[in-house]
Symmetry: C2
Subunit: 386 residues, 2 copies
């Protein structure tokens, strides 16, 4: 068994930076997705905050997987990133391909260096680029427990470990993780077996989940030995696994670009939950660490109000350094991406998002419907602002 | 007594084009006041519609009184206007000075041409540039009755005749005219004496007015012999009358500009209602023609919805040739002065006014409060968008 300090030498943080954040349109959009915005008024983009949360654990061992068009923006946000660790997808292929490619590249490097054979293969931790977490120390402690839980032993290939969030309300917008018995492992006093992952529930079901105390929100955080990730991926999605292995074999060689361009478009699109997490849970290979930190995926503009208590101005939450907002008998959220004067009169729980080429007016209660509007605009041929 | 055709040779239409229309901010503003906008979706600005409503009665005998900074805009809207009949105020001095100057200039021309002595002095009709009236034929018939009623006779100097609007609801936003007995005059079967003008009433008082059938809305429309107008002005506001007479004496001469620049700033600011209408009514010199046409002063954005039944789109009233509006579970008014995409989700009776440098979001119920917001913005130092 390796010590905790040794374990962290094998840890590699992976940040999948995909997802436009359609519910945050028109602020967040194809060319300026959610993770490139400062949505908490902290002065830091979500992806930079994610990096700063992970680098105390991973050091320079951080990889970002993002769309090729975000190359410059991401490099600008994380100048510390090694070019070899900025993985650029030619087109979006969902989370299984993104996280799977990171796993395949890291596994290939392990094989090249001989680490895999020495039982010191990489343990990856995948954390989305667009989530808000506090306090950072409690998150980091959960990751430490997850790495300890994930580590292979003489008897096993280790575990795929998810960090689940203690639900604060019966949300119908998240999937849930059903925790089972305690999983006894050194360095992880809170580890539990995972019985199953369940999809977004109906309201009453969500209430039962929360009341039972056995369910956690699935925040999509996975810590696992790359070899174990790939073993489950190969079983559930052999075609995807084969393609990713082919790309990974060419990575860090002159063939890297050509192989990526040729193979990537042929890969099936699927979510990591279906391709790895659910079958692995069914096989008894998944554990969970309950996260006691607060977690927000900034799913819509209602979250913006929640996450910016300091930005209150005349009863409104105002985001935007150039904002000139006047409000009277009004409450809600203004996100100003321009320096126009915005006057709000007699509108309660309003959401106004003002950008150069598009304006959204809705309410915090309807914030989830923004996605539908974006789909409708696409159909109407207004894609220039999406 | 002169015939009806003769009477119309003495008629001169005056269009005071003042007033920013603060309640229509940010569409209407100091440099682009209400009368320069098309607020009915007709394709025609309010001032052009006003001109087209009057020229069938007045021919080329139309005068516009407006602010000096609107010279080009007004000339562009009414290219038919003789330069001598475009009266430019160096600064706003309220309606008594504006209408009084028109009366003084027309009276001076009468004296120059000798018409006054022949008992054929000008009958002016003053109609604000920013009102919406339909059908035009009924309005014109009311003006014809007003001119017939206003005309001097062997026994009298004529009448100051107002055209009052039959109230459709107990508005507290307008002043009222209390009509008295029938005033028997040839060519004006609907003329009545005016007992008094009353200011904007409280709700219950307005209800009593409407129930009584004796009260009409004061739309600020006056038809009167210029000599009679000036007689009352001289009595109530001798200083104002003297100043206007001095300016008028220099009008159409090389001294016009210098005299205007010197005298105008010294003139008292007051409304035509106080300076002429109310004292003239007290003296028994005012009659009224009830207007059976529909009339709207486009007082706020709620009026925009009312006046644009043809502009309905997905439950919204949308004004603006370049508008790109998407709405879902939404109702209200959008006035788009840009070509930005505007998405409205789950907002009822909303008012969104989108201009290049300012955005207003309110509701039709709060539309009257826009004026207060503009005052607050002025105090905050945001005058660049006012």
């Amino acid at each position: 068994m390796t010590s905790s300090a040794d374990l962290f030498e094998t840890f590699f943080a992976v940040i999948p930076a995909g997802g436009v954040g359609t519910r945050l349109w028109p602020l967040s959009r194809a060319n300026a997705p959610k993770f490139l915005h400062d949505l908490t008024g902290s002065g830091t983009t979500l992806i930079r905050s994610t990096y700063e949360r992970l680098t105390p654990l991973a050091g320079e061992r951080v990889m970002v997987v993002t769309g090729v068009k975000h190359r410059e923006a991401v490099a600008g946000q994380i100048p510390e990133l090694d070019e070899r660790d900025l993985v650029l997808e030619p087109e979006p292929k969902d989370s299984a391909a993104a996280i799977g490619l990171a796993a395949a590249i890291l596994h290939h490097r392990d094989q090249q260096s001989g680490c895999q054979e020495q039982g010191r293969g990489t343990i990856m931790g995948s954390f989305a680029a667009d989530q808000v977490i506090a306090p950072v120390e409690i998150f980091q402690e959960a990751v430490r427990e997850a790495v300890a839980t994930a580590a292979p032993t003489a008897e096993s290939d280790g575990k795929i470990v998810t960090i689940g969030i203690k639900p604060t309300h019966p949300s119908t917008g998240f999937g849930y993780i059903r925790a089972g018995e305690r999983y006894p492992v050194e360095g992880a006093p809170h580890a539990h077996h995972v019985v199953e992952f369940v999809e977004k529930p109906a309201e009453e079901v969500a209430q039962q989940y929360v009341a039972s105390g056995d369910y956690l929100w699935n925040a999509g955080m996975f810590v696992a030995p790359v070899a174990l990730m790939l073993k489950h991926l190969a079983a559930a999605e052999p075609e995807l696994h084969a393609g990713l292995t082919e790309i990974a074999a060419a990575w860090d060689t002159p063939e890297q670009e050509a192989t990526l361009e040729r193979v990537w478009p042929t890969l099936p699109k699927t979510a990591i939950d279906y391709a790895v997490a659910e079958p692995a849970a069914a096989a008894g290979d998944v554990a969970v660490i309950p996260g006691e930190f607060t977690w927000d995926d900034v799913g819509d503009f209602a979250a913006i109000a929640r996450l910016n208590p300091a930005a209150h101005q005349e009863g409104m939450t105002v985001l935007g350094s150039k904002a000139r907002v006047y409000s009277e008998e009004a409450s809600g959220v203004v996100v100003a991406d321009t320096n126009r004067v915005i006057a709000l009169i007699g509108v309660e729980n309003i959401v106004v998002v003002d950008t150069g080429d598009a304006l959204l007016v809705t309410t915090t209660d309807h914030a989830q419907n923004v996605k539908k509007a974006v789909e409708a605009l696409k159909e109407k041929g207004d894609s220039d602002v999406l």
